[in-house]
């Protein structure tokens, strides 16, 4: 500790160099934290996937629907407990305006709610919803977002051609669902559900089924049951693909995952650049100080201590850069939702904010970068012989 003033004096003396290195480091840590936060927000929802749920869809693409008649045949497969039809409706409040978007689904309400215990609805609201053809259940986040109340009404219009019937769908809010994040982590409450029957009638009984959500009795049998279901339809026009809910969602996320991979690669490249920049700063600092290092050793500083001083200096650069980067990132992530354009995209994410884990990781990265950058100069200083350094000065 008695050597700390020495380190700080060096940093202060070369304040331009210190400042620019700290700034570069800070941008790097900021980028790291923001990207990690973003990636985490995107993948957060995966946690809520249940091991006892399978999703059956058209083998070719989600764009194609399956016949309604598949339901009974799937329900008859040994190991299957319940089946519910689920169609992603893709409705917006104003045609093709996604600024106020929230996910909305046409579901076969009774089995769907049985299969998804994480959506918690008061019993009377559930009853009202089941009895109401135009009724819907809306998640707490969306309710809060629009300041909606039970009994309120709104309209949605889908952008998916088969669901466009020339007029909007009318909905009545019969119930609000919450969740228990302790028991069901990762559950999103921004969704809205309405009756599949309503969709079916409105489209003149022409739509099929987008996905069947299948509850199974034994999660260990997931693969076997999935295969059995797909085998049923092997020789029909609409072949199916059945996978676990986690795998199904991961498919969606993999698109985001590719983006995350790209972003992470950028962050890695930047991190590496900063490592080089900082290493350059440090080796310049040490080269300039050859005589000084020789003097320290001459008056009796052990080589290990000299090395420690240099590592301390570069770690201090890391700490300063990491600290300011975190502050910067924390501020920006908080501001993100109120920015135009980006804000709309980001607001849908549950749990946006710089978590202590990511912040800690970012800071550790900064310290590691600092130490890494100082390592080689410090080793050179450790090994350098006094007489050589004095002669070459």
């Amino acid at each position: 500790m008695r050597h700390l003033p020495y380190i700080l004096k060096h940093l202060r003396r070369n304040w331009v160099r210190t400042g620019s290195t700290v700034l570069a480091m800070s941008v790097c840590i900021f980028l790291f934290c923001t990207l990690q936060t973003f990636v985490r927000a995107v993948t957060w929802n995966l946690q809520s996937a249940s091991a006892t749920r399978l999703v059956t869809r058209h083998a070719v693409s989600l764009v194609f629907n399956m016949p309604i008649a598949y339901k009974e045949r799937i329900a008859a497969v040994p190991g299957v407990v319940r089946v519910a039809k689920v169609n992603w409706f893709g409705g917006t409040r104003r045609p093709n305006d996604f600024t106020e978007f929230f996910p909305n689904f046409a579901v076969e309400a009774e089995p769907y709610l049985e299969i998804h215990p994480e959506f918690i609805v008061p019993e009377d609201q559930k009853k009202a919803f089941l009895a109401d053809q135009r009724g819907c259940l809306v998640g707490r986040r969306t309710i809060d977002r629009f300041g909606w109340k039970i009994g309120g009404t709104f309209q949605l219009e889908s952008f998916i051609p088969p669901y466009r019937v020339g007029k909007p769908f009318d909905f009545v809010i019969d119930g609000i669902f919450d969740t228990d994040l302790a028991r069901y982590p990762g559950t999103d409450t921004s969704m809205m559900f309405f009756h599949y029957k309503y969709l079916y009638e409105m489209t003149n009984q022409r739509v099929g089924v987008g996905t069947y959500v299948v509850e199974i009795g034994d999660p260990h049998q997931a693969t076997a049951v999935g295969r059995a279901i797909d085998a049923l339809f092997e020789n029909s026009d609409a072949q199916t693909k059945t996978e676990t809910e986690a795998a199904f969602r991961a498919g969606f996320v993999s698109l985001a995952g590719n983006l995350a991979f790209l972003l992470n690669s950028i962050a890695l490249a930047v991190t590496f650049t900063i490592l080089l920049v900082t290493a350059n700063t440090m080796s310049m600092a040490v080269r300039e100080r050859r005589t000084e290092i020789a003097v320290l050793k001459t008056v009796g500083f052990p080589s290990g201590l000299v090395m420690g001083l240099i590592l301390g200096e570069s770690a201090a650069l890391g700490a300063l850069g990491g600290g300011s980067g975190l502050l910067f990132g924390w501020g920006l992530i908080r501001m993100l939702p109120s920015l135009p354009f980006i804000g709309e995209a980001v607001r849908g994410f549950p749990e946006l904010g710089l978590s202590p884990a990511i912040g800690g990781l970012g800071f550790a990265l900064a310290l590691g970068l600092g130490l890494g950058a100082g390592l080689i100069p410090a080793l050179l200083a450790y090994r350098a012989r006094i007489t050589d350094m004095l002669r070459q000065a």
């Binding site: 020495y6 052990p302 080589s303």
Partner: protein
């Protein structure tokens, strides 16, 4: 009186491109306690090399260097560093003060390794600055001092840990006549009043005159 510096048959050989360069060729030098020796000789004759061996910042190829009773070659690197901090003070031609530290902090540097409190370190450093006559400049940075003053701060740094031996490599080589004169007077004081044994390399015959004894080095051999 015992010999504080005892150099016996020392050779120093550098290998460059498979070529052997003999810099010191069988040097024997005895310096009794309290002596003030001037080491002279043409450029490249090996003066700095010999001084570095005595100061324990370099090791001989063969032969023995004993300083203040310690055989320098037998110490490990870290033991040698500890030994240096207590036994020798080094004075350089270009002062080699650390630019980001004040005069007081520069002088305190060797004391950072000793088990002393902040206050003790400060007091000792101020005492050393008082001896070289620069107590009032303790808060100045090297760039705010003249060459002569810088060298006096460097001398304060060399004596602050109260070493037995002072080695100086052309301490007046970069100074004007008046400053050089002050430095030499200071060295005399340190030798006479503070009983420091001094080995000083110099090119300047007048500086050499101030020492008690003169030794000449030529092509790696001591001549007189």
């Amino acid at each position: 009186m015992a010999n504080v510096v005892d150099v016996q048959g020392v050779r120093k050989v550098y290998n460059r491109d498979s070529l052997e360069i003999v810099v010191l060729d069988g040097i024997t030098l005895l310096v009794p306690e309290g002596e003030f020796v001037a080491l002279m000789g043409p450029s490249g004759s090996g003066k700095t090399t010999l001084l570095n061996l005595i100061a324990g910042i370099d090791r001989p190829t063969s032969g023995r260097v004993t300083v203040a009773g310690t055989d320098v070659a037998r110490l490990s690197e870290s033991a040698l560093a500890r030994w240096r901090s207590r036994t020798v003070g080094f004075i350089f031609q270009f002062y080699n003060l650390i630019p980001v530290l004040t005069a007081l902090e520069n002088v305190q540097l060797p004391l950072l390794l000793a088990p002393l409190s902040r206050k003790e370190r400060r007091e000792r450093a101020l005492t050393a600055l008082r001896i070289v006559g620069l107590e009032d400049r303790s808060a100045h940075y090297p760039r705010q001092l003249s060459g002569g003053q810088e060298q006096r701060v460097a001398i304060a740094r060399a004596i602050v840990a109260d070493p037995k031996v002072l080695v100086a490599d052309e301490p007046t080589g970069d100074l004007d006549a008046r400053s050089a004169e002050e430095i030499l007077t200071l060295m005399e004081t340190l030798n006479r009043d503070f009983k420091k044994t001094i080995v000083m390399v110099t090119h300047d015959p007048r500086a050499a005159q101030r020492a008690h004894a003169q030794k000449h080095l030529d092509k790696g051999v001591l001549t007189a």
